[in-house]
């Protein structure tokens, strides 16, 4: 047996090398296909602006936007606004999750809590986050607090509803198994409900960030004096469309990066793992 293994060793190594290079090629293909649509967009953009159909203050060229990027990076104002926006998003997300998640767990496991909390939550869910802007400004002033409140509103509902659905989908026999092992309600939440609902919880958080991001930009246009949303709205009178387009690109890039490198991997990891362990 041993002798045979050593005999086939070179062949095995070769097969492994081939598998590794196939994997690399696949990864390269993913990267290329990821970049390609954006490259095509930039080329079309350049072509349209080169045609000189519109004056640059209405339709800035890629070069105009690049210059704006360099200028705002050098004077630091770009990072100041990005920082302000991300800080609000983070704060709103933490607040929305910190309140939405435990409340959803309670609603998911307790019938009385569900009857009490679900009607008002459904009521407030029907009010778009942006509809809170007038009141938020009255309550908190033109400040990060008003925007954070609006983001909280956008994060809370997807996190809560996804978590409730996930908790309710935990099979009753697993709960019964916990109960016959002497589990208290708190033990059940920790050992059965939360791990059983984890894929739904992560999906809710991803949705929360997506909704929160939209609310953030909308809220900043009106209720603050910093942030990406504020910047692109503020410069409209100065006809500085380079800043507007740059701001929009930064929004897209930031969200894509968050989704691609944090949210999506987190979601696929939990769902894939739970998918295999559930497929019995």
């Amino acid at each position: 047996m041993r002798g045979q293994e050593t005999q086939t060793d070179p062949e095995l190594a070769q097969r492994r090398r081939r598998a590794r290079s196939a994997k690399l090629a696949d990864r390269a293909s993913v990267a290329v296909m990821f970049m390609l649509p954006f490259l095509i967009l930039v080329v079309i953009w350049q072509a349209v602006s080169s045609a000189d159909l519109y004056p640059p203050y209405i339709f800035p060229s890629p070069l105009d936007v690049w210059r704006t990027l360099v200028r705002t990076s050098m004077d630091g104002s770009l990072f100041e606004h990005i920082g302000a926006s991300l800080f609000r998003l983070g704060l709103g997300f933490v607040a929305g999750t910190a309140i939405g998640f435990p409340l959803a767990v309670l609603i998911g496991i307790n019938k009385t809590a569900s009857r009490f909390f679900v009607p008002p939550i459904t009521f407030f869910n029907s009010i778009p986050g942006l509809a809170w802007i007038p009141l938020a400004i009255l309550w908190f002033g033109i400040d990060y607090k008003a925007v954070t409140f609006i983001i909280f509103n956008s994060v809370f509902f997807p996190v809560a509803f996804s978590t409730i659905a996930g908790i309710r989908a935990v099979p009753q026999n697993m709960v019964n198994a916990g109960r016959t092992l002497g589990a208290s309600p708190l033990d059940l939440v920790r050992e059965v409900y939360i791990p059983g609902a984890l894929p739904s919880i992560v999906t809710g958080m991803r949705l929360g960030v997506a909704y929160g991001w939209r609310a953030l930009i909308g809220g900043e246009m009106i209720a603050t004096s910093t942030g990406l949303g504020f910047v692109i709205f503020d410069v409209r009178q100065r006809l500085d469309s380079g800043v507007i387009v740059l701001g929009m690109i930064v929004m897209g890039v930031l969200y894509l990066a968050m989704d691609q490198f944090i949210l999506r991997p987190l979601e696929t990891r939990t769902i894939e793992r739970w998918g295999t362990v559930r497929a019995q």
Binding site: A177, R179, T180, L181, G182, E191, R273, W274, V277, Q280
Partner: protein
């Protein structure tokens, strides 16, 4: 007193979903089970055997009557009545060891203590070497062995088994039955075992309770005098086994 489990005039009424009629899942069931006795309950579907087991577990409430365990009325589930489920009910995100550790963990034992307990019970059910496998990496028979180890790890005075071997193939079933007989001989505890299989009931039990449907009630009780340890190879020619098997089968079929 004296009985480990006592059911007194136990009644469970369901509303008939089709109309305003009532269905007696159980009507005035009286039953006493001694400490360390192995009792199997057989009967046709609808005889209330599973309802009874779930009430004993505290997972369902009776309409009237009472169930006593060591003289105390059952109020909800507890670690003193371990349960083995037909569909295993393992937690799929936990390894075999972590599933078995759950009871000891809930009781507040230290990590090293519960690991020692889990590995001991996994060895007892024949799963040494599979401690780190997830349920989906185990066959149905092995998953149920984990289920048995998990229930035993709390060393409950009463072990409830709800058609535990109904979902596995015939050969696995035989080996699980022989395994269960030996485990019980070593880890004496009171077992209440619900099954559709008369063979299984006679093979495992000290007493077989035959229940009858509409209304669910105890029809008759058979004492099984087949000497232990029991193995299937010897049952074929055991006249006591075969006589009891025939008599119980005739009762079950009504």
């Amino acid at each position: 007193m004296g009985a480990r489990v006592a059911a007194r005039r136990l009644t469970k009424i369901y509303q008939d979903p089709s109309g305003e009629g009532e269905v007696f899942a159980l009507r005035n069931l009286d039953l006493e089970i001694e400490p360390d006795e192995f009792v199997c309950i057989v009967g046709q579907s609808g005889c209330g055997k599973t309802s009874f087991l779930h009430m004993l577990a505290g997972l369902r409430e009776q309409t009237s009557g009472e169930i006593l365990v060591d003289g105390r009325p059952v109020k909800g589930p507890g670690a003193d009545r371990g349960m083995v489920f037909q569909d295993y009910a393992l937690l799929p995100w936990k390894t075999a060891r972590a599933n078995v550790e759950l009871g000891p963990k809930i009781r507040g034992l230290s990590a090293s203590d519960r690991r020692e307990i889990a590995d001991r019970f996994l060895t007892i059910v024949g799963l040494a070497g599979f401690e780190d496998r997830y349920p989906h990496e185990l066959s149905g028979g092995m998953q149920q062995r984990v289920g048995i180890a998990r229930a035993l790890a709390n060393e409950p005075p009463v072990l409830l088994m709800d058609e535990p071997f109904a979902a596995v193939d015939a050969l696995t079933r035989i080996s699980l039955q022989e395994n269960m007989e030996r485990i019980w001989a070593n880890q004496k505890t009171t077992v209440v075992f619900v099954t559709h299989s008369v063979d299984e009931a006679v093979f495992l039990a000290d007493r077989v309770v035959v229940m009858a449907p509409r209304p669910g009630r105890v029809d008759s009780i058979f004492k099984i005098d087949v000497p232990r340890p029991r193995v299937w190879a010897e049952m074929e020619t055991d006249s006591t086994f075969n006589e009891l098997r025939g008599a119980i089968l005739r009762k079950v079929l009504g």
